[in-house]
Amino acid sequence: MNRRIVRVGALIALLWLNACAVAPPPPAPVGYQPTDVSSDEAGLWAQMVKIEESLASSPARVNDPELQRYLNDVSCKVAPDYCEDLRIYLIREPYFNAAMYPNGVMLVWTGLLLRVEDEAQLAFVLGHELSHFRHRDTLARWRQIKRTENVVASLSVAGGAFGAGLVGVAGAVSGYAALFAYGRDLERQADRYGLERIHQAGYDPSAPGRLWQSMWEEDRVRDKALLSGIFATHPATEERASELGRQGAELGPGSDHRSRYQALIAPWRGQWLDDELGRRHYAQSEVLLRRLLSWPEADVSTRYALAELYRLRAAEGDLQRALSTYDEVLALPQAPAVAYRQRAQVRAKLGDPSGAAADYRQFLRAQPEAPEQAMIEQLINQLEGS
């Protein structure tokens, strides 16, 4: 019954949107800026300028010169003609997402870099977003919104987030990104465009198919009631993954520059995995972690993250799995001291108070100034008294 209502509703919505379809604007030439200051496009750009000012100084931005230079370099390699028009901002958000604003601002979220396997996949995403810029998809979408939706309400939802005290910049950013969710035709167009661009730049055209296959695998298991990042605006479907794979195979070989990409990302992986687990999207994170662990670059931070996932989820059998995974981590020379504290919690829950106390003590020896030192000492006393 519910499905029927959804199908009928979707059909009505589709007919309504088609009835309100707006002719797409002509592509943006290199160096494009709206010249008619009274146009809706100029107004939209003016809003984006304000957002960019906030982005530039926001602590949500990852302000690392090496990462920034790398993203700029890849972007210019994919789009040498638009190199001067694009400005990339890396935002610390664990969701897989990228977004293109009409004035050349491109947002890349750290959750995307965590999931991308090599430079060719990253280049494809940048090329895909470039398509939205070049084809002025944002403007077309904006005009559609103005004709079909309550613009004031839409903008207040998206922009209102800036007014709230604790709200991260990504709140407003993602609000605007949701405004610019494109239809499937524009997404297919952007996929084709991105693929052509990376092929021209000498990248491996089979990389995008692999990336979307991975995203589809995550999308299949994720809790649909929770926020999804890119899946809200860029549907990850098996059809999309296979279509990209087919198109890529037709184009022939190319370079993936995997080692260059992985070397750059390695120092950040631990922090980004911590952010990923902070969402508590266990099923999706487990698929991601198993994929990362299958890579030759898998390091102690990834194995530690898997132990953390088991400990946090604590479903049937998880605590035992967490214990054995912490054991593996702590056998490695680069093991973080915090793994002792986390293993202590697992041991306590599994009925091993002396083992838990020993681990807590080991942690405090490594980090005597730990902020939670007083609490841990109380826990040790409780464990040793039990």
Partner: protein
């Protein structure tokens, strides 16, 4: 859709609040808690998720979360009774795990780089609990400090979180908050 993530901390800014008004100095009952504010606060919110402020929530806010059951979202009243993944309180959690959950909840709510800088045991009346101190930034780069106090009563987590800009406002109300926390008692049940 994405903006839903920020509803927990802005929900109290919008319509639907059923208990707005002035909180006068003296003994006050809030959802099973007894508190003794030393100054006047403005209260808004609903049972289970209230917000007190003196100068406006961006300058100082005391969030009072009560009755968080096993499996409930920690900060998000709208999500509390739904089941699934996400930032949920578990009755088996110790103070270390609750600290993790609170920090993750702040990050999910849009706080940037939230970090716990102190966690210690603290009794609330005769109930064991914990206190913690945190810091984070908002989107504009304004640095905040926060004090939290939590305990479990009636098998439910009760949790107070005060936050204010680190410069001036946090320290200005610190004594009031510490006094307020010291006065906290569980009266329900």
């Amino acid at each position: 859709m994405m903006v839903l993530r920020w509803l927990p901390l802005i929900a109290l800014f919008i319509a639907g609040c059923s208990s707005n008004g002035l909180v006068r100095p003296g003994s006050v009952q809030v959802d099973g808690l007894q508190l003794r504010p030393g100054t006047a606060w403005t209260q808004r919110g609903v049972k289970g998720e209230r917000q007190w402020t003196i100068d406006g929530p961006q300058l100082n806010a005391l969030e009072i979360y009560t009755g968080i059951k096993d499996g409930d979202f920690i900060f998000d009243l709208d999500q509390r009774n739904k089941r699934g993944e996400g930032l949920r309180y578990r009755a088996s959690m110790n103070a270390l795990e609750l600290q993790e959950l609170i920090v993750a909840g702040l990050r999910e709510a849009g706080a940037i780089d939230p970090e716990s800088i102190r966690l210690a045991p603290r009794e609330v009346g005769d109930l064991p609990g914990f206190e913690l101190e945190l810091r984070f930034a908002n989107a504009q780069g304004l640095h905040y400090r926060a004090l939290g106090l939590g305990f479990v009563a009636d098998q439910r987590l009760q949790f107070l979180l005060y936050y204010a800009p680190a410069e001036y406002y946090f320290e200005r109300e610190r004594r009031e908050i510490e006094s307020l926390f010291a006065s906290l008692r569980w009266t329900k049940g």
